[in-house]
Amino acid sequence: MTPRTSLDVGGMGHSIKRKEDPRFIRGKGTYVDDVQLPGMLWLDIVRSPHAHAKIVKIDTAAALATPGVLAVITGQDLAKYNLHWMPTLMSDTQMVLPVDKVMYQAQEVAAVLATSRYAAADGAAAVTVEYEPLPVVVDPKKALEPGAPVLRTDKKDKKDNHIWHWEWGDRAATDRAMAEADVTVKQDIYIPRIHVASIETCGCVAHFDKVNDKLTVWMTTQAPHAIRTVFALVAGHVGLQEHKIRIISPDIGGGFGGKVPVYPGYVIAVAASVLTGKPVKWIEDRMENLQADSFARDYHITAELAAKKDGTLTALRIKTLADHGYTDAAANPSKFPAGLFHVCTGSYDLKAAHVEVDGVYTNKPPGGIAYRCSFRVTEAVHTIERMVDLMAHQLGQDPAQFRLQNFVKPEQFPYKSALGWEYDSGNYGGALLKAMEQIDYARLRKEQQEKRQRGQLMGIGISSFTEIVGAGPSKHFDILGLKMFDSCEIRIHPTGKAIARFGTKSQGQGHETTYAQILAEELGIPARDIQVEEGDTDTAPYGLGTYASRSTPVAGAAAAVAARKVRDKARKIAAHLMEVAEQDLEWEPGKFSVKGAPDKFKTIQDIAFAAYTNHPQGLEAGLEAVSYYDPPNLTYPFGSYICVVDIDAGTGEVKVRRFVAIDDCGNIINPMIVQGQIHGGLTMGLAPALYEEISYDDNGNIQGGSFIDYLLPTAVETPKWETGHTVTPSPHHPLGAKGVGESATVGAPAAIANAVVDALWHLGVRHIDIPITPAKVWKVLREKGVTE
């Protein structure tokens, strides 16, 4: 897209440099642990070594005798204020601190308040807790067996570990299509538990000002307004009222979904500050972060895909067990307990589909949040992309040609999927063909054949994903009843500079830059003259925050709509200034000119000045607007990724040799930032495909609870990503944009897994669950007699 504005204005399509960077490259960002207030106290948390145990006794004497320790807070203490339990975003309940038993290893058991970081840690180490171990339930399948210990004894009448059953689609039509199919493939797919592991962990500084009854919390949150409302609803009975709660989300060191939930540490810090009247800081360490914060995924999927002999796909049937740990602490829209998993028909024109998901309790940390993806979309994409690949191979067809044959075609948009979604726009074949050309697919297939004859293991994998982001239309989307609109408020100052505030919160996405570019595009005010602010609930308009790639689709749209309101008023002022009728004016970015007399014009800066110095009688002074944007539909970014892997037949190591990613996120605001988002997303797709997993032994002991054994890719493992794009604008978004932050994380794992199976198909390998570690591959190669 050729930009409509000059580089000096820096509207959409310009790769202007980020406004955030000057502070970050000087080490002058303000992250939550940088906040240090006079008289501040420290909180440290005692955690359970057991996955399931009764608490017999908590002995705090030694802790209280430790120098610097002021108090030890237990569940009993919080129970006096009815703050020992809290609601999750899924309307389940979660312990803040336990009164009688712990439900997972690393669960919070008590908190120590002290005068320094080290004293708090000393105090935590000095608390002795006597436990009586209970039977541990780790496997969600076993959790549902009759006779399994019932975990949620706090819920009256709960007789099993089943949380909810949810299904979607036409069961009868799907069963019929399955029965009538010429070919079906069926596969169990486990998408393991992983953790977003943003490099900054979670934490807060809570400061309750007893004189003004005002609580200020600096907090690592992706959704500050929703947090404020939740605090007011949950703690209203202890005197916290919403107008006296200020949540400040400062610079955030990566979020990816992990900073959406409310963790017990935040609540304890707030309670401690309210009780003491002093600022209280809680910062978790990396092990606490990995072991206790919300996990992502953990879906046990069984999928079946049906096709006709000629390769036409017909139906998809999926059954899934969702392991939520001891409470459903996901962050999905209320109506969809399995998120948007039912976008699982993907990019393919399937006529029938049915999905069932059952949520299960186990003795593991709670969650079910996203890992840089929109509400279970990675699970959906991984499933359909693995299944389509399986079917193509089963039919002996080339997986690229097979996809091209079955894609929803460009002329079918807007396309109503078998599971009820209305895809806004797409050109799936266009993206795949471009990826094939960029990587020279035909040559790679030839190379693969030659290598296979020499006994070398090379695979080519494709993933042609469709995402669903930008939640969402208020008719269907809310979190705890709060509708998922988002907001922008713009004020133009007399000198033509502007400030704009949003209900979202960047965690590295570059909103200060891209939102300014949207406003520059719409108003012609240079992006450098527009100050963007987010994350302070005392100043920003209400919004639901940043996750699920919703900032551009929802708040970005709000920016455009608010800017157009400003422009409407500016037109009136311009007409007044030039003494012409409004309809005789025409707009180009930055100015209104008189039709037919282009040298007679007023710039937006002239108009802004007049709005405060010479506004027309009958019109209010000032130039500002606000928009609370309720999107009419979701947006559907898509793309095609092709990955080449080489497998070491001796060690089982998978090496990604090339990876071409063609993305389509509609119209692009800042190409540099979009490409950066894709690089990062791809790396967070590589990570679970090959390296990352959190698992538990039979006693509920975590494996993958530190950076020693939870393996984030370094620069050495990460391939040299090759990117490209096509542009298919969203027809309903004011800017034609779709959102891009998560596309690559969603699409990449399947491309890698498909490449590995493609390399091993001739040996009889049909599927390997991610992460595809050398050990797993080596075991397969040994079974197939390839290695000893």
């Binding site: 960077d21 490259i25 000087r26 970081r117 080290y118 540099m672 990062g680 530190s706 950076f707 990460t718």
Partner: protein, 158 residues
């Protein structure tokens, strides 16, 4: 215990517990908060600073071990209002997103370029492999280091 050290050319003194980690001295006591903490096992590199010119992970040293030594942190990169070519490179090449790993990356890059003025891409990747980034996929960090290397070479040739 009394520690005396120089950070970014400025002398500092503090009374510290022997167990105080160097990173906590830098951040909590001396309030140079550009140096970050991202793990507790020396893996992430967010706390990387230079000790006598060598990159160290300041979460894995005691403050007292730095007694009498000279340190450099991210705050020391800019000289007389002029950004270091690495800082310029990170901005020009979009080598940062959330900014949390950035100070550590910059310090590692600084020490590396001092010894390897004409690095290959693979050498850069190995050099920064002790610094984790969750946002950028490293592509643009590598470019940023190359950008800085080119600027430094030009400066040296002039």
């Amino acid at each position: 215990m009394r520690v005396q050290l120089s950070i970014n050319g400025e002398k500092h003194e503090a009374d510290v517990e022997p167990r105080l980690l160097l990173v906590h001295l830098i951040r909590d006591v001396l309030r140079l908060t550009g140096t970050h903490i991202g793990c507790d096992t020396t893996h992430c590199g967010a706390c990387t600073v230079l000790l006598e010119g060598r990159p160290v992970k300041s979460c894995t040293m005691f403050a007292v071990q730095a007694n009498g030594k000279s340190l450099m942190t991210v705050e020391g990169l800019e000289q007389d209002g002029k950004l270091h070519p690495l800082q310029e490179g990170f901005m020009a090449e979009h080598g940062l997103q959330c900014g949390y790993c950035t100070p550590g990356m910059l310090m590692t890059g600084y020490a590396f370029l001092g010894k390897h003025p004409t690095p290959t891409e693979d050498e850069i990747r190995v050099a920064i492999s002790g610094n984790l980034c969750r946002c950028t996929g490293y592509v643009n960090i590598v470019k940023a280091v190359q950008h800085a290397a080119a600027t430094l070479r030009e400066g040296a040739a002039r």
